[in-house]
Subunit: 249 residues, 2 copies
């Protein structure tokens, strides 16, 4: 544990002490100051630095562990956890995984890529300003060689400057973003629409047949990262979630 790391923990004086400690550490994690894998100072170190008792520090850390932000092991200490990959319902965050879980072989093809100012059409589709620079991608994902889902995505280079040097030849952009970006907010919308002729042709279905449209936008602290439209042929897909009234089970 370096000095800089423990010095990053500062309290704001608002509310119970254990909660100040909890929030201080949580914020360091969410802001990316302590990326996944970073080791968190041991209880006695925080105790001295913050002038709190060990029980109080323990209470803060135990709660963060319950929330899944940190992992704790006796003797080895505490480390920042990796964000959970899936999240109850609708977390088809990774299409390769999704296809793999169906027991099918995954592949994908980039249909188009364009870097620069969004075209009028793309800007409208993703609710962007006309002068915003984005990377716009269109991809088709296959399961056992058959079209699985059509992906239409914009990535904001402001949040992800590395995107310019990435060809997405090895990893589809969704998975690349999962690995390389930190997000704190996401919004999902699901609707049913009829396939347009060009979309239908790519997905090898009849024009006008029902499709499930999943639109997802993600942010990091209100800075947009990416927005994606995933079009699934209707008959072949359903999204299932199971939970109890007090949270996912």
């Amino acid at each position: 544990m370096s000095a800089t790391q423990i010095d990053a923990v500062t309290l704001d004086g608002a509310g119970p002490l254990y909660d100040q400690i909890r929030r201080a550490i949580r914020d360091l994690i969410l802001a990316g100051t302590w990326p996944p894998g970073t080791s968190v100072p041991p209880e006695h170190a925080l105790m001295e630095k913050l002038g709190a008792s060990r029980m109080t520090v323990h209470r803060a850390l135990a709660q963060l562990a319950r929330e899944g932000l940190i992992l704790r092991r006796r003797r080895s200490g505490t480390v920042v956890a990796s964000p959970p990959a899936s999240h109850a319902m609708l977390d088809i965050l990774s299409i390769p995984e999704e296809v793999g879980e169906l027991g099918q072989a995954y592949s994908y093809r980039i249909l188009q890529r364009r870097d620069g100012k969004a075209s009028r059409e793309v800007a409208a589709r993703f609710e962007l300003g006309r002068s915003v620079n984005v990377t716009h991608l269109t991809l088709l994902h296959f399961a056992d060689g058959a079209p699985h889902v059509l992906e239409d995505r914009v990535i904001h280079p402001t949040a992800m400057p590395q995107v310019a040097d990435e060809s997405f030849a090895q990893t589809p952009p969704g998975d690349w973003l999962l690995q390389n970006s930190l997000w704190t907010q996401a919004e999902h919308a699901i609707s049913a629409i009829a396939a347009e002729p060009d979309e239908a042709e790519l997905l090898k279905i009849e024009a006008g047949s029902p499709c499930l449209l999943v639109e997802r936008r993600t942010w990091n602290q209100s800075e947009p990262i990416t927005a994606v439209r995933l079009l699934y042929p209707g008959g072949r897909h359903r999204f299932v979630g199971r939970f109890g009234p007090y949270g996912a089970v």
Copy 2:
């Protein structure tokens, strides 16, 4: 606090003491032994009954409070909370509410009701055994007088014997069930399908146009309560959810 109430709390000896206490009380709540509004014994009473220190009892109760199962107030004590009405994504649990939030006037009409053994068709649609007794209902919900969603539902009288005496003239079955049943498990599935001619006519849309199909089944401790199919005209509806990687925000 009656004697029977505190005597219901029994530990199983497995794992940490605070967690045994937590689970014991949680189970009483989930099983319906302590329905919402029941007052939970004060810390000192549990402390004596269980032979634990107050801090340990407090730890169990504080965690249940964070999980939302109980409400605690100084001096007035602890009571069992009502289950949260909505739950992130997809919790269109109440259609009247859903319509109300759109600022539209709600109404509904029962198209059909049948009590008794499920017909072959209904049994197949809801994956029931042929000899199962159910109440089968078909309803149409309206928003500002226009068809909003088509509901097709079965209710298991085994779990809900009161259903026989309920006409659903005042309250649609979904809301009635929310008020009168306790559920511990739910499963949602969303898919996109083309409207069948009879469905299309009721919803006043074209046959074959895309619809969002939400199927939900609920159980109480593995005993089925109800299963419902909600058919939403595609263009007019989308389900939106917003959350962060560490849980709903």
